[in-house]
Point group: C2
Chain length 244, copies 2
DNA sequence: GCTCCATTTTGGACTAGACCAGATTGACGA
DNA sequence: TCGTCAATCTGGTCTAGTCCAAAATGGAGC
């Protein structure tokens, strides 16, 4: 898009371009594993440190990703995500020709953290229903979510099948539909717990999306703390209509 | 927020925590420069490579940032940014008690790129008014923007003072106000041109925000390609009201 | 065919340097 | 006082390894 730098790009740049080109040509399929670091460093006739520097840059660009102690893989295309849309994860992913999956890690009633109390506008030390889940796209863990529900609106929810979409549960069991939404997006590094769930290295680049959801009566019903692998999504917000 | 890992965190982790703690305590002021890498590596009794690994992690977390060949600095607090709001950059920054500044790099009539044509819904090879600017907060370059305006709506704009807010120019000179907005947020690595303008290293983590703006008559008037230093902002979207 | 265990492979972390080029700085002269 | 230039400092890049622990693998035994 701009003029090419005339000066040499160095070994790291060479490796980066070579791998990027191979990926672009489709020679390395999405989610395919790259050769071992040692093998690649031989291939490019360099040290592992230099090679890893190049891999890190490709990771930052979102072309490849790493699974902790498991190796490097080619990033599939990003999924478009509109936090304002009321469709649930499965519908959104399937609409884009991909295969979603959800795994429940924990579901329990706990004292809310200070942050969550503030988001839900609850008094200090309130209890909330906390649900932790990992979401996959085409088998790859891309999203770690912590849902925090105001228990007043969802009696007996912990007895239900939480593998189902929460959106469906809300509507089917409680007659609650999503209304207004507020959300915040912050680029961060993955903390240990989220990293573990995503099979990523702690400190990996990620996108934190915090949502506060209201129902059709404008009551705050829950908040989600989402942690996305940074190469997995493209947030796309289209406001249907805007009133003055 | 979760249980601490019991196993040793290693040298990198130790350095990370030590620096994070010093920054948290305010011993290193925002935008203050860290000691030279060699000095820090002596201080922590390790090699520069290991030290740089720790600095990179802190960079990923958004605690520190780097200026190309100039050193490492402490990141100031993030600025909240609502891409749906119609306030301009200066107003937004000042409202948060910070000092904004804008610099115009280029302003000219050029053939639009394919991407820009698509965003503006213009036929191929259309000309657009391209304005490239760098925005600062408290002296630090945080945003590189490329505005692309449909020239049909802005005759003679290139003769005007472009240091002023575009929002003001639109309203004052052309009677055009912002209406509906669509935007996309993607975590990327900085390309060479944006990196240069932001005094960052090419490949640094960044947030790309692409906006397509319409006026009060719902005509597409321009699109912005924004590149933010990833530690500088927190995107915060509050939808005022939502119609079905 | 399946489980379990030992071996091998692989990524994670770290050491101890070197060389280069851009940025900073301070001394010198106009 | 100010601008120029040279010395110095500093980050950017790279070499050539080592040690460790987790993951993958493949074979033995049931």
């Amino acid at each position: 898009m701009s003029d090419a730098p005339s000066r040499s790009i160095g070994a790291v740049g060479t490796i980066r371009q070579a791998l990027a080109e191979q990926i672009g040509q489709g020679l390395l399929p999405p989610n395919g594993k790259l050769p071992a670091e040692r093998r690649l460093s031989e291939l490019f006739d360099t040290t592992r440190i230099t090679l890893r520097e190049a891999l890190s840059q490709l990771e930052a660009e979102g072309l490849i990703y790493r699974e902790e102690r498991r190796g490097w893989f080619v990033s599939p295309a990003r999924v478009r995500y509109n936090p304002l849309a009321r469709t649930h994860f499965h519908a959104m992913v399937e609409a884009q020709g991909r295969t979603p999956a959800t795994e429940v890690l924990q579901a329990r009633l706990v004292p809310a953290s200070g942050e969550v109390c503030a988001l839900l506008a609850l008094p200090a030390l309130s209890k909330v229903i906390q649900i932790r889940r990992v979401r996959r796209i085409d088998g790859r863990q891309v999203l770690y979510v912590e849902h925090n529900l105001n228990p007043a609106y969802f009696p007996g929810l912990l007895e239900l099948d939480l593998t189902r979409s929460l959106t469906e549960l809300y509507a089917g069991e409680y007659g609650i539909r999503y209304g207004r939404v507020r959300f915040e997006i912050t680029p961060i590094a993955l903390a240990a717990d989220a990293a573990l769930a995503l099979r990523a290295a702690a400190g990996s680049p990620a996108l934190q999306i915090t949502r506060v959801n209201r129902d059709q009566l404008d009551r705050i019903i829950d908040c989600d703390l989402e942690y996305w692998r940074h190469d997995a999504i493209q947030v796309s917000v289209e406001v249907p209509e805007q009133t003055e």
